[in-house]
C-alpha cells in the first residue's frame, strides 16, 4: 500500500507533471486566467487521464506484447477517440462547460500530459492499481498547478505589470517561481 501512496504523492508533488516534467503546458498557459475554468479543465483532464491509464494498461497487457513498435500509434489513436467521446459527453450534459473549455477540450488530445502518462506508465512497468494511482496523482497535480497559476493570475489583473512583461512573459516568470517552490518537495522521497 505504501507503494501506491508513494506513486500518488510523487506524481502529485515531487514530479508534478506541469512544473517539473513540463507536460501539459498548453492548458497551463492558455486556460489559467480564471480559477473556476482552471478547476473544471483540471478535473476533465483527471478524468481523461484515468481512462487513458486504464486503456494503456489494457493495451500493454493484452495487445502490444507482440508488437511494441506499434505502441505509440496505438496509444495516440486510443487517446484521440477517448477525447472525442468525453467531448461528446460534456457537450450533451453541460453545454456551458463545453463553451467555456472551447478549443482546449479537443486539444486534450495533443496535451502531452495524457500521452506522457501512458508512456511513463509503460516504461516503469506499472500494474493496474499502480497505473490508477499514478493517473490520480498526475491529474490532481495538473489541477493543482492550473489552480495555483489561475489564482496568481487573477491577482495579477489588478497589479501594475510593466507593459513589456504583460502576457506570456510574466506567466513564464511566475511559472519559474512556482517550479522553484515545487523543487522543495524533492526531499520528500527519503521520508516516505
Amino acid at each position: 500500500m505504501g507503494d501506491l501512496a508513494w506513486i500518488l504523492i510523487s506524481a502529485l508533488l515531487v514530479n508534478n507533471f506541469v512544473l517539473t516534467l513540463f507536460l501539459g503546458l498548453c492548458p497551463f498557459f492558455g486556460v489559467t486566467s480564471r480559477v473556476s475554468t482552471a478547476v473544471r479543465l483540471g478535473l476533465a483532464n483527471l478524468f481523461v487521464l484515468l481512462l487513458t491509464a486504464l486503456c494503456a494498461w489494457f493495451l500493454n497487457r493484452f495487445v502490444l506484447g507482440e508488437a511494441p513498435y506499434l505502441r505509440l500509434i496505438a496509444f495516440i489513436v486510443v487517446i484521440a477517440s477517448l477525447v472525442q467521446i468525453v467531448e461528446m459527453a460534456i457537450k450533451k450534459w453541460s453545454p456551458v462547460l463545453f463553451r467555456q473549455l472551447g478549443i482546449y477540450l479537443p486539444l486534450i488530445t495533443t496535451n502531452c500530459a495524457i500521452l506522457g502518462l501512458a508512456i511513463f506508465q509503460t516504461n516503469r512497468g506499472y500494474g493496474f492499481w499502480q497505473g490508477m494511482a499514478f493517473a490520480v496523482g498526475a491529474g490532481l497535480g495538473l489541477t493543482l498547478a492550473l489552480v495555483l497559476m489561475a489564482s496568481i493570475r487573477e491577482r495579477l489583473d489588478v497589479a501594475d505589470v510593466p507593459a513589456v512583461a504583460r502576457g506570456t512573459g510574466i506567466v513564464l516568470i511566475i511559472a519559474a517561481c512556482l517550479s522553484l517552490a515545487f523543487m522543495g518537495f524533492a526531499g520528500l522521497g527519503s521520508s516516505l
Binding site: 513540463f22 503546458l25 498548453c26 489513436v77 516504461n123 506570456t168
Partner: protein, 207 residues
Amino acid sequence: MAAAPAASLEDLTRGLWRENPVLVQMLGLCPTLAVTNSVANGIAMGVATLFVLLGSNVLVASLRTVIPKEVRITSYILIIATFVTTADFTLEALVPRIHAALGPFVALIVVNCIILGRAEAFASRVSVRRAALDAIGMGTGFTMVLLMMSGVREVLGSGTLLGMALFGGRFEPWVIMVLPPGGFLTLGIFLLLLAWRAERRQRVQEA
C-alpha cells in the same frame, strides 16, 4: 490546384524568425523547456523534430486530395506517429545515450503542436514543394530556439558547452538553470527581451 501560388523563398524564411513557432506562435513549449538542459539534447531534439515535420508535411501535402475532410486530423496524427516511431528507433540505434537522456520526450514529438499545426494550417492546402520548404523553415526555427535555450542553460547551469568545460575550476555553476525552473526562467527572459525590443522599435518609429 492551378491557382496555387508557386513555391517561394518566403515559405522557407517565414518560420525562421518572423513566424517562429516557439517565440512568436508559442507552440511546442513542452520540448523547448524539457530537453534544453544541454546543447547535445537540444540538437538531437531539434533534428528529430525537423525530420518528423518534413516527413509529415510532405506526406500530408501529397495526400491532400485523397484524405477525406472528416478524418483528416486522425490521418495526420497517424502519419506523424509513424515518423516519430522511426525517429525514436533511429535515435536509439545511433545515439543511445542522448536517447536515454531525452526519455519519453522523443515519443512526445507526436503531440508537439507545431507539427499538427503545420499539417492542418499549411501542408494540407499547398503543393508538396511548398510544404517541404515550410517544414524546413519551421523546423530550423524550432532548432534555433532550442539551441539558444540550451546554450544559455548549459553554460550557466553546468559551466560547459557541448560537454567541454568553459571556465576552469573557479566557476560555481548556477545549478537551477539546468533544473526545471531554469527552463521557465530562460524562456521568460527571452520573451521579455523580444517584447522590449519590439516596444523600443515602435517608439523609435513614432518619434
